[in-house]
């Protein structure tokens, strides 16, 4: 990378993080905001929970980062860490992709579930990680969410679930589709037992995940700018044959249309959750 690149004029309206933008900055030391182009020292950005100081752009958080940002004194007791995906359909390339993602993320699957306290309130927490197979839901993700919800019912603890997912996982076919029914059936039990469910929708929450547990919170919260929707933008553009508005399927768009309770910036999220938990304690 040359100095010239560093000071290259930014496109004014670029909102989508591009591969190119990521590559322009030496990995690990500096980070560049894909929205406004501001360059940060990575550690400074992390201190700010990966929110751009300048424009408020929310970078993706990994599941461990998210958990650390919420849980008291980092006391977190994970559930079902041993569950791993198999290849039930013998789908081309699936096993290799799973192995790659395990290496890349140091996680076994696209979700971490467990128990901890937030502001002193015990909770069951689930956090999806979009780095692992785009956070997609296959058998393991469905099973872990179901078991977490069952524990929430058993312990009468609120269940907080952070979505970050492209949807149901194609490589497990209809088994993935059925996880939508399986996880929501567990939420139905929670609902009947009057256990609080808070759904936090982060970037992205789409497809089969948005069309199942993510939309069913007693309270639905989203992070600013998060992409949330059922169908993909390109598919919709092809169907309606017109350009969609820029803010289509963003958290702010959904808030206006009555699909969310609040859009909460990440730096205020923990306090908001504590406030909600206090109401239900």
């Amino acid at each position: 990378m040359s100095l010239k690149d560093l000071f290259r004029k930014q496109r004014k309206y670029a909102t989508i993080p591009s591969e190119q933008a990521k590559k322009e900055i030496p990995e690990g030391i500096m980070e560049k905001c894909p929205k406004c182009g501001t360059i940060f020292i990575a550690k400074e950005l992390e201190k700010n929970l990966k929110v751009c100081h300048s424009c408020g752009y929310h970078f993706s958080l990994s599941a461990p980062e998210r958990i650390a940002s919420l849980i008291d004194e980092e006391h977190f007791f994970p559930f079902d860490e041993d569950l791993r995906s198999v290849d039930p359909l013998e789908f081309p390339g699936y096993v290799e992709k799973i192995e790659q993602d395990i290496k890349k993320t140091n996680m076994n699957e696209a979700i971490v579930t467990g128990e901890g306290t937030i502001g002193g309130y015990p909770v069951i927490l689930g956090v999806m990680d979009s780095r692992f197979r785009m956070g997609s839901m296959g058998s393991v993700v469905g099973e872990k969410i179901t078991r977490a919800a069952e524990r929430a019912v058993k312990k009468k603890y609120p269940f907080i679930l952070f979505s970050a997912s492209g949807g149901a996982r194609m490589q497990e076919g209809a088994l993935s589709l059925m996880q939508m029914a399986k996880t929501t059936a567990a939420l139905e039990r929670m609902n009947r037992e009057k256990v609080l469910f808070i759904s936090v929708l982060t970037n992205p929450t789409t497809g089969g995940v948005s069309a199942s547990f993510s939309s069913l919170g007693d309270i639905n919260i989203a992070e600013p700018g998060a992409l949330i929707g059922f169908a993909g933008r390109r598919v919709i553009e092809q169907t309606v044959r017109q350009k969609l508005p820029d803010d289509f399927q963003t958290a702010e768009f959904l808030l206006k249309r009555g699909q969310l309770d609040q859009v909460v910036p990440r730096l205020e999220l923990r306090d908001t959750l504590i406030k909600i938990l206090a109401f239900h304690a």
Binding site: D82, T184, F230, Q259
Partner: protein
């Protein structure tokens, strides 16, 4: 044969030839019965060979066949006294999903299904069976009504998927489907779902959470359309045929995966070849599965449904295996 599919061409050609010979026989008073008989046998062998070894893609073509019976055909032939009920009471009436009350062998039930339409005008007015949120919310309203009055719920699934459109998103397509999944899990009446044609992902599942899941032999049920999968995998929608094989979307695979409870046989060549025979086969299956469910209490039905879905999924316990 109406609208033959490409793989049926050899059968159609042979059948046409037999017809020609028959016509020739009666016109010219020449006895060709021996030749005709030989060809008839050949045609039967050919049918057995082709229809007995359908590929996934051929089944998808049958499931999408323009003449394949639709939900309203089944509603009108399996049930009596059908009274259609319209609207979601919130926004509109989505005719891509139809529903109402009817009698199955005298028993009042609520019946709901995707309706793709029959002729072009009908298809357009029903958006080809791709529902908007109001369709799912109408279905929910009718199911809540069934639950209130203790009527079993029977659904027919036949959609490419929920409508991908701007208004559908604005009105909460995701929420409408999600809510149906949750509420269907909690109803204390028997629910039987029959996949009759295309089972297109969340849009199909939105009326698909039942105690029993039955599937017509050549129907398919998939997390993504074969075309969509091909686009993601190979950036080429024309490779849908390959993608359909990889996704394991046919009834035999879904039975093995523990997702469906029974395959309902289809007449040779598909339901459209003999819609009335298909009606009989579906009705028999419904009665067979409904009877034991009617003997169960509301709590038992909810528990049964919960366990059915809780069982679905395949995974390993890596840590335990690693330690062993």
């Amino acid at each position: 044969m109406s609208n033959p599919l490409s793989f049926e061409k050899p059968i159609v050609e042979l059948r046409n030839k037999i017809e020609e010979l028959r016509a020739f026989t009666s016109e010219k008073s020449i006895d060709l019965s021996e030749e005709i008989e030989t060809l008839e046998k050949k045609a039967e062998r050919l049918e057995k060979e082709i229809y007995g070894n359908l590929t996934t893609w051929q089944k998808v073509q049958i499931a999408r066949h323009a003449s394949r019976p639709t939900t309203l055909h089944y509603i009108h032939t399996i049930f009596t006294d059908f009274l259609e009920l319209h609207g979601d009471r919130l926004y509109g009436d989505d005719s891509a999903i139809v529903g109402g009350i009817a009698k199955l062998n005298g028993l009042p039930v609520t019946v709901i299904g995707h309706e793709r339409g029959t002729d072009t005008k009908d298809k357009i007015s029903r958006n080809f069976g791709l529902p908007h949120p109001e369709g799912y919310r109408k279905a929910l309203r009718l199911m809540e009504q069934a639950n209130k009055f203790g009527r079993p719920i029977i659904t027919f699934i036949d959609t490419q998927g929920a409508h991908p459109g701007m208004e559908a998103e604005e009105r909460g397509q995701s929420e409408a489907i999600a809510r149906n999944l949750r509420e269907m899990a909690g109803f204390s009446v028997p629910i039987i779902c029959v996949i009759t044609g295309e089972g297109g992902s969340g849009g199909a599942l939105g009326i698909g959470v039942g105690n029993k899941l039955l599937m017509l032999e050549h129907a398919y049920y998939s997390v993504i359309s074969p075309e969509g999968a091909a686009t993601i995998l190979w950036r080429d929608a024309s490779k849908a045929q390959e993608a359909s094989e990889a996704l394991k979307i046919t009834s035999d695979h879904l039975l093995k995966l523990g997702i469906i409870d029974e395959i309902i046989a289809e007449p040779k060549g598909g339901a459209h070849k003999d819609p009335n025979e298909q009606t009989i086969l579906i009705k028999q299956a419904l009665l067979k599965y409904l009877e034991p469910l009617l003997a169960m209490s509301g709590e038992e039905l909810i528990e049964d449904r919960y366990k059915k879905f809780a069982r679905i999924g395949e995974f390993s316990s890596a840590v335990l295996e690693g330690k062993a």
